[in-house]
Symmetry: C2
Subunit: 212 residues, 2 copies
């Protein structure tokens, strides 16, 4: 227990940094390969000239994701976790030293691809956004409840593939989220085709307005 | 460290059970939704009347996977891990009490969908088989090296979708596995279409023969 409470202490400290500059921090979680980075790449293009954004991204190894994100003209700090299966508040805090929070409105934290442990570590952030890709199966909210109970928004990603998949039902996935007694909304989108992205951008803008 | 050594102690005990009955135990790991259960369903059909098989399957919650597997006429024991992101040797040991090892040749252990922690827990098994689905991206071996270094075989699953995906390269995924200094073979298959399944069945038969 003391491991988490130490983390919570650090998370509260991180949150002070965010409040001081009116920054909304969004924690993006999913299975590996659900499309977190692809979504962020499209999001950064759509927010260009609207909101000032930076990204912290966690992976066991490689700078792959940060390199992809920097191509869209933003600060992207890569955290290499080594063998840890999730980001924690200390890791995020040291990454914050590389970001000038007075220069941004919105901070995305792309967590390590994992549908279990990341949900238990407060990073000091304000919203949990969970991606569920159409290729993983619609039973994931029931099978990985710790994560989906923590969702403020569920994004069903890769919806362009629905036309070639025969057994993913967005309704079933949404029903399972509700059965977890989580009233969070669900949006369907495709980062590749751009469908559903306007509703996602509107949700982000709304959260930022509420936060301020 | 004592957590792992206690686990290793229990794993050695589990292995004694397997050796006593000449059973090969295969640990199946992947991201959530990569197709572990679908692969097992097809495998059970192809091994019917050839080998005697049982399955232990781990998930945080639900009996979904065990129910699917039992429809193929085998014993399938569901372990509900609660919030643990991986199976450990103790969980597998208590599940063994529900299986008569003198009646089987091959035991599959379908681990919790997670590309990090399951690789670190010896269950007493003999082979690690890692699934990487074409829909997750071919960069996973480099980004999740702890898991892919532990692979005895990498299976690229859902290969029927390659015709609609524009950026997954099986060669790139295989190169990345080799860059981890892991000489493990790679097989490409589709549980849905049946392609590549014969080579997978042949590999299993070979491992069982070597083991005995
Ligand atoms: N068809 C389709 N494929 C997508 C979409 N979004 C992402 N992908 C594919 O999904 C794979 C993984 O995408 P990433 O953006 O790297 O996923 P990620 O969640 O960031 O992966 P990790 O950071 O490794 O957990 C890649 O092959 C992408 O091309 C989409 O909207 N439609
Ligand atoms: N196109 C295609 N889809 C597949 C294939 N194998 C599995 N799927 C789909 O992938 C999704 C997940 O399959 P599962 O077998 O439940 O995957 P899993 O790895 O057992 O999932 P967890 O146990 O939850 O980690 C389902 O929607 C399946 O229909 C395949 O060979 N081709
Ligand atoms: Mg990514
Ligand atoms: Mg399964
Ligand atoms: Zn973990
Ligand atoms: Zn025993």
């Amino acid at each position: 227990q003391s491991l988490l409470s130490e983390n919570d202490h650090q998370a509260a400290h991180n949150r002070q940094h965010f409040e001081q500059h009116g920054v909304l921090a969004v924690n993006l979680m999913s299975s590996p390969g659900s499309g977190k980075t692809a979504l962020l790449e499209q999001t950064l293009e759509l927010l260009r000239d609207r909101l000032r954004v930076a990204v912290i991204v966690g992976d066991l190894e490689t700078e792959n994701d940060a390199v992809r994100l920097r191509q869209h003209g933003v600060t992207a700090v890569q955290i290499s976790t080594g063998s840890a299966c999730h980001l924690d508040a200390h890791m995020v805090h040291s990454a914050l030293h590389e970001i000038d929070l007075s220069e941004i409105d919105l901070l995305f934290i792309e967590n390590v691809g994992n549908l279990v442990c990341p949900a238990s570590f407060d990073l000091g952030h304000h919203r949990n956004v969970i991606l569920l890709s159409t290729t993983e199966g619609d039973d994931k909210p029931a099978k990985y409840p710790v994560m989906f109970r923590a969702a403020d928004l569920m994004l069903i990603s890769k919806c362009d593939l629905l036309e070639v998949l025969d057994d993913f039902s967005p309704q079933r996935a949404m029903q399972q989220l509700q059965q977890l007694a989580n009233p969070a909304p669900t949006l369907q989108l495709s980062a590749k085709r751009g469908s559903g992205m306007a509703a996602w951008i509107a949700w982000l803008q709304q959260q930022l307005d509420d936060h301020r």
